[in-house]
C-alpha cells in the first residue's frame, strides 16, 4: 500500500474501532442491567409470592 492509502485506512479504522468500542461498552451495560432486572424480579417475587 502506498503512503496515502495507509493513512486513509488508518483514519477509517480509527472511526470503525471507536464505534465498535462504544457498542461493546453499551453491550456490557445492557448485560449489567439485565442482571439487575433479574435481581429485582426476584425481590418482587419475594414480596408477593402468590402472584406468579
Amino acid at each position: 500500500m502506498s503512503g496515502g492509502e495507509k493513512y486513509l485506512a488508518a483514519a477509517y479504522t480509527v472511526i470503525f474501532v471507536t464505534v465498535l468500542v462504544y457498542v461493546a461498552i453499551i453491550a456490557a451495560k445492557l448485560s449489567r442491567l439485565e442482571r439487575e432486572t433479574a435481581e429485582l424480579a426476584g425481590l418482587a417475587q419475594e414480596r408477593r409470592p402468590d402472584r406468579g
Binding site: 503512503g3 496515502g4 493513512y7 486513509l8 488508518a10 472511526i15 471507536t18 464505534v19 439487575e36 429485582l40
Partner: protein
C-alpha cells in the same frame, strides 16, 4: 419519577429504527466515498479522509450545541430530564471531538507530513474544546448528584458553546490559515460528485450520532428507573 422515553409512546423506543437508518446511511456513504467519488488531483487517495473527518467535526459542534440547548431548557423549565439529555449530548460531542482530533491528525500527517500542526486552526480549536469538555466530566463527577450538579453542569455547557466562536476568533487572530479551504465564500471547491458524497456522509454521521445519543439516553434512563425500582422494593 422522570418521564422516560420508555413509556411516552406506545410503540417503544425509536432506537432500533434509528440504528438501522444510521447503518444504512453510513453504508451508502462508504460506498460513495470509495467507489463513486473521484480521486483528488492534488492530495490523492488520502483526501478521502475528508469525507468523514469534516462531518465528524460538524457533528461534534452540533452535539455541543444540542447539549447547550438542553442545558438552557433545564435552567429555564427546571425539568429533570433535560439534565440527562444535556449530559449525553456533551458526552457524544466529546467522543466525536476526540475522533475529529484523531482523524484530523491522520489527515495532517498524510497531507503535510506532521502529526500535529499548531497552524491548523480547526485542530487547535478542537483541542481547546476537548480540554474544556473533558473538564465538564471531571466537574460533573466531583459534585453530588442533585439539582446543584444539574445546574452547574448546565451553566458550564452554555459556557462551552460561547467558547466555540470566541476560540475560533482567537485562533484565527493568532495564526495563518493553511487548512485546505474546501468551502470558500464562492461555494464548495469540489466537483458535484464530491459534494454529493460529502453531503451523504454528513447526513450519515449525523444519523449515527443521533442514534448513539438516543441509545445512550435509553440506557441511562433504564439505569435510573431500575435504581428507583430497587429503592421502592427494598423499602
Amino acid at each position: 419519577m422522570s418521564t422516560s422515553s420508555l413509556n411516552r409512546s406506545g410503540f417503544g423506543s425509536p432506537v432500533p429504527l434509528l440504528a438501522v437508518l444510521a447503518s444504512g446511511l453510513v453504508g451508502i456513504a462508504l460506498a460513495l466515498v470509495f467507489f463513486v467519488a473521484p480521486e483528488d488531483a492534488d492530495q490523492g487517495l488520502s483526501q478521502k479522509i475528508f469525507y468523514f473527518h469534516v462531518p465528524i467535526a460538524l457533528t461534534a459542534y452540533a452535539c455541543f450545541g444540542w447539549g447547550a440547548f438542553k442545558a438552557l431548557l433545564l435552567l429555564w423549565r427546571k425539568e429533570e430530564r433535560y439534565d440527562l439529555e444535556s449530559y449525553v449530548a456533551v458526552h457524544q460531542g466529546t467522543i466525536f471531538g476526540a475522533l475529529t482530533l484523531a482523524t484530523g491528525s491522520i489527515w495532517a500527517k498524510a497531507s503535510w507530513g506532521h502529526w500535529w500542526l499548531w497552524s491548523e486552526n480547526q485542530l487547535v480549536l478542537f483541542l481547546v474544546l476537548f480540554l474544556f469538555y473533558s473538564a465538564y466530566f471531571m466537574l460533573r463527577f466531583s459534585i453530588e448528584e442533585g439539582p446543584r450538579r444539574a445546574n452547574i453542569s448546565a451553566v458550564y455547557a452554555l459556557f462551552g458553546i460561547a467558547l466555540v466562536p470566541v476560540s475560533f476568533l482567537a485562533i484565527r487572530l493568532a495564526e495563518n490559515v493553511i487548512h485546505p479551504t474546501v468551502f470558500t465564500r464562492e461555494g464548495p471547491q469540489m466537483t458535484g460528485t464530491m459534494f454529493f458524497t460529502f453531503c451523504v456522509a454528513w447526513v450519515a454521521i449525523s444519523a449515527l450520532a443521533y442514534a448513539l445519543y438516543r441509545l445512550e439516553l435509553l440506557g441511562k434512563r433504564l439505569d435510573s428507573n431500575l435504581r428507583e425500582l430497587r429503592e421502592a422494593l427494598s423499602s
